[in-house]
């Protein structure tokens, strides 16, 4: 028998946080909300086993990410079609800082973006990121390093080279 009150409490405690994380991974808030909702529906569908996972939120996040990435592919195709037709895609976004950050994140390769979000936003350790993404520890470290460097450049906050005072 599935315990709906237990599921409801889990959903209330983790739902918004997972929307934020999947949004940061995909750059599309609507897709993130849809994907997370669908992932929770699937979690409820098999709540008897998911509830006993080591980390049910990681299960939902993994499923939501896969759904969102799948949706993201279709969205990319749609955007390409819009671009070919010269039709701008309306993209209402939150605050300017968030817009800039999400825009920068979108430009990272997917694997780097996912690693950066899991490490910096979800607060996972390098080992946990490796386990969740199926990558090796060293690959995760490289992705984090490259991702941070790319983000810095994209956000224009690179440390500038020191300027010499002597001629």
């Amino acid at each position: 028998m599935r315990d709906s009150s237990e599921f409801d409490a889990f959903y209330a405690a983790t739902g918004r946080r997972l929307v934020a994380q999947v949004y940061a991974m995909t750059g599309d808030r609507a897709e993130a909300e849809d994907a997370v909702a669908e992932a929770y529906a699937r979690a409820w569908q098999r709540w008897g086993t998911v509830a006993h996972c080591h980390d049910p939120a990681a299960w939902v996040r993994t499923v939501a990410f896969r759904i969102a990435v799948s949706s993201w592919r279709r969205a990319v195709n749609r955007r390409s079609a819009h671009a070919r037709l010269g039709r701008p895609v309306p993209a209402p976004e939150p605050g300017p800082d968030t817009v800039a950050l999400v825009r920068a994140l979108r430009q990272l390769p997917a694997a780097q973006r996912r690693a950066v979000v899991l490490f910096h936003l979800a607060g996972l350790s390098v080992g946990e990121v490796a386990q969740e993404t199926g990558a090796s520890l060293s690959a995760v470290k490289v992705r984090l390093s490259r991702g941070r460097r790319a983000l810095a450049a994209l956000l224009g906050n690179d440390q500038e080279a020191p300027c010499s005072t002597t001629r």
Binding site: W44, Q45, W59, R73, T98, H120, L121, G134, S136, L137
Partner: protein
Amino acid sequence: MFDDEVTDRLRRLGNEIEETTVLAPAATVRTRGDRRRAGAGAAVGVGVTILAITAGVAVVGMDADPFQAPGPGSRGDRTTIPATLVMLHEGESGWQRSDDPAVSSSVNPCQDADATLPGRTDARTLTGRGLAVEEEHSPSLVTHQLFLYADDAAARAAFDGLATEAAACGWGNSVPMMNRDETSTMLRLRKQDSGTYQQVKDRYWLHDAVVVRDGNALFLASSETKGSGMTSNLADQELGWILDPICRARLVCRSGWASPLPSVPAGHSPGDPTPPRVLEPGPTSK
């Protein structure tokens, strides 16, 4: 930009989204899940009906055209690999093919009895060098193995045996993944020595494997890399390319799988990518 700046900005983004997200009521989500559950049950019923109607056609049709798209109930009833199956990399320079049905598994975590042998009826093995798809890495020895079994239970036992041995003998393994009706299961296995990577790069090694079971078929992709800290070439993207021809032969299909990239190998026409599918993590006991 320093780490704490990245963290701060991402956390501000997270807080902003969390504060402005209005979740659907939990009851609505549960109802959606319940509908999916009911839908899955109905789909099974429809599948059984279709199987009953098309059984005769399938028996004749499989040998006539093993590459047509898989249909309901069309897998799990083969015990020999069709001669017409061409696996990825077959015929390419540097790749060798073996049809020995008793070939050793490329992954034997405890280096003892081969868990994939009992009940095996046929096998095909491709061995070659790795491809640098995602990131640069040292050349890898890559093995693709397709095993068929007398029945689903034997394939399941081989899959479970590999997972159990991996856990017992120091291999890291991922959360087992499964499709919605749990007829298809997948596991990633990895053993590595990364401790020496920073100090003595040449001594670094990585043995990476993906095991996919579908019905009575088991697919095993294994990559052994030395001298590099990079991942091997078993990303989801490449796995899709490897499995596509095998799936078209009605053997291993990752039904319910989501791949982030079109499932088309380099050099092939990207005109008809495999439809996106979703694979879900399986349970991991506390």
